[in-house]
Subunit: 201 residues, 4 copies
DNA sequence: GATGAATGAGCCTTCATTCAT
DNA sequence: GATGAATGAAGGCTCATTCAT
């Protein structure tokens, strides 16, 4: 419970790496299927097909398992966004691609991702977890091609994320609709100063 | 365990009402200070200065305490927003007033509010809890004075809320700054089609 | 609370088996010494010299501990009676041996046995528990060598058991006396149609 | 829990007497309907339509309520048997009448009666409760008109009771059948030395 | 006398974590 | 290195009993 360093002396053999992946995959599945309250180490060990003792060879405590999961999910998410940023040169197409990347990141195995991050929020300092998102923000430019101020970048990214997050949490039926995606793009671009056409015009 | 109706045979004397308020206030404080995982009935009873038995005279189980809290917080929040809506006739001043109401609703005891709602999400159908927010959305109009489509209203309210929520959770230093409030207003108004002036211009 | 299957994934190693026996023995002792109302899992764990957690590795809940005890006691009882039935060929000697087997089964740790069975009655369908006694009844024959009718077999076995049970519960001083045994034998044999000589003749 | 004297300073007014009867009647009903585990003082107070405080004006503790109930039930039972004994002069008709009285005493509100008595067994010294049955036993005579020895009287009454008790507890379908009554009468009479005809002859 | 809100000891059960094998 | 039996702190909840009103 104390101050959990995030990893044990992990034996760096290939087998260990495989075991670790198995555990994390099982953790994601378990989180997805039973939610945070049902997520317990014994169930995880069983699902992963390892003994509870083995679990504790790879992670010092339960908290660090969730942390590792969150870290992994976040890394995957950033990779996806970066891929998009690398491929698109700019303008509306690029903005739309970013939004789409966000959306997909949020719709696949959403519950596991959300819970992992939420669990981290609840227990650790959220800042170190969220640093990485800054990189993503750096990719945006306003309508004049200027980089965004700190607050503007923050508002932009969190607003878009917030709308998507709410859609997921509230089970919105339009989550994967074109209209929703369009609205998110419009939200971002309007805020950045691009002229936009309200729905229906 | 059954179906947990949400309240016990509560004797409606004045004393009882006071006790109930004390419990809910203590619950909010406790949720705020220790988070959901540390929120337990024994700690709540102690903080409220009542016995554990008394707790269970007023609520059938732990879950319903959180539910009551969520209901109360939501009601207070909506009341605040409605008050604002009633006072302002329209335009930028009104939009700013709404944002300000949101901000204040979110900055005071945010964690308790968020956790209560989150806890409800985890256990009940989230939809019936959120109905109320729709009323708030109805208050908005776009730049042409038209009511918003369902998706637009959703995106708008959740985007603004999401940005504020993130600022709170991440401990942003600009949470109560004028700049942040301005940016939120700008976000909302730009999305609604009002011409806006990007920061610094 | 669910459906309480009667056993956990019990690892069948020797150690586990021993632990289980220890728990059941302690349960019998505890039931014997404090009665059903004082029978609680914490006290049981302490008496068994295991942790409360261990208890719950072997049994899903308190109820199933009592159920297991009842099953075990019944099995032991039936085994004892069957042994007697196998050894004696018939007539008075055999009837007397049966009575004696009953008496001993009932005098050793009677309270535990009775309470375990009673507790089961209170929670389950009593019928499936009692099936086994039917086998015992089948061993009896009336004075003409005919098997007994269902009701007669029932009355015979329950009457004898009832008298013994009462003697135990009421702390009768003659519980293990020859006279009491003789009277029980006489009761059974008279009912079965054998000529008997009333006491003192 | 200590050493419960069985009654409080009961105000001997008629109203008090009525309240007491109401409480005992409610106790019997409650015991009957929910069993011993569900029998709690709060539920009893509610069912009786009195406050929990009033309950404790009439009884020092829960135990004494059950004791009073058991005493009342036993008195009613003895009265019934005595009535029978007064009416019948002897022989088979009288024996049959006694058995019938026993049977009815056991079939009406059996559960409440049984539980009350059982609860007493579990907590008090059973002897003082059962003394009264001796009086009933005194009514029997053997085939030669001689009074029964202590052990014989005990065996007789407890055997008959035991068979009936088992029939009730096990939910025997023949509980109120003529055959069952006949068998009980035959059991008693055979034991007392009367010539009997086994079933079917 | 009656009331019923309040009390709190104590019970059942879970689950993160340890360590002997 | 792995295993999984064992541990026990901690938490949700019940209910007999008290006492201020």
């Amino acid at each position: 419970m104390k101050d959990t360093e995030n990893a044990r002396k992990i034996p760096s053999q290939a087998r260990s790496r495989a075991t670790l992946d198995i555990i994390l995959e099982a953790a994601a599945q378990l989180l997805e299927s039973v939610g945070e309250s049902g997520f317990n180490t014994n169930a995880l060990a069983e699902r992963a097909g390892v003994s509870i003792g083995t679990l504790y060879r790879y992670f010092p405590d339960k908290q660090s398992i969730i942390a590792a999961l969150a870290r992994q999910e976040k890394a995957a998410f950033e990779k996806a966004v970066e891929t998009v940023l690398a491929g698109e040169t700019g303008g509306l197409a690029r903005d739309r691609a970013i939004i789409r990347a966000f959306l997909h990141a949020f719709s696949d195995r959403t519950e596991a991702r959300r819970l992992a991050v939420t669990a981290l929020y609840a227990n650790n300092d959220p800042r170190d977890l969220l640093e990485g998102y800054e990189a993503v923000q750096g990719a945006f430019r306003d309508a004049d091609g200027q980089p965004l101020s700190r607050v503007t970048a923050f508002v932009l990214s969190r607003a878009v994320q917030g709308a998507m997050r709410a859609a997921v949490l509230e089970g919105a039926d339009f989550l994967l609709s074109q209209e929703f995606e369009d609205e998110l793009v419009r939200l971002g671009r309007a805020y950045l100063g691009h002229p936009t056409r309200p729905r229906g015009a």
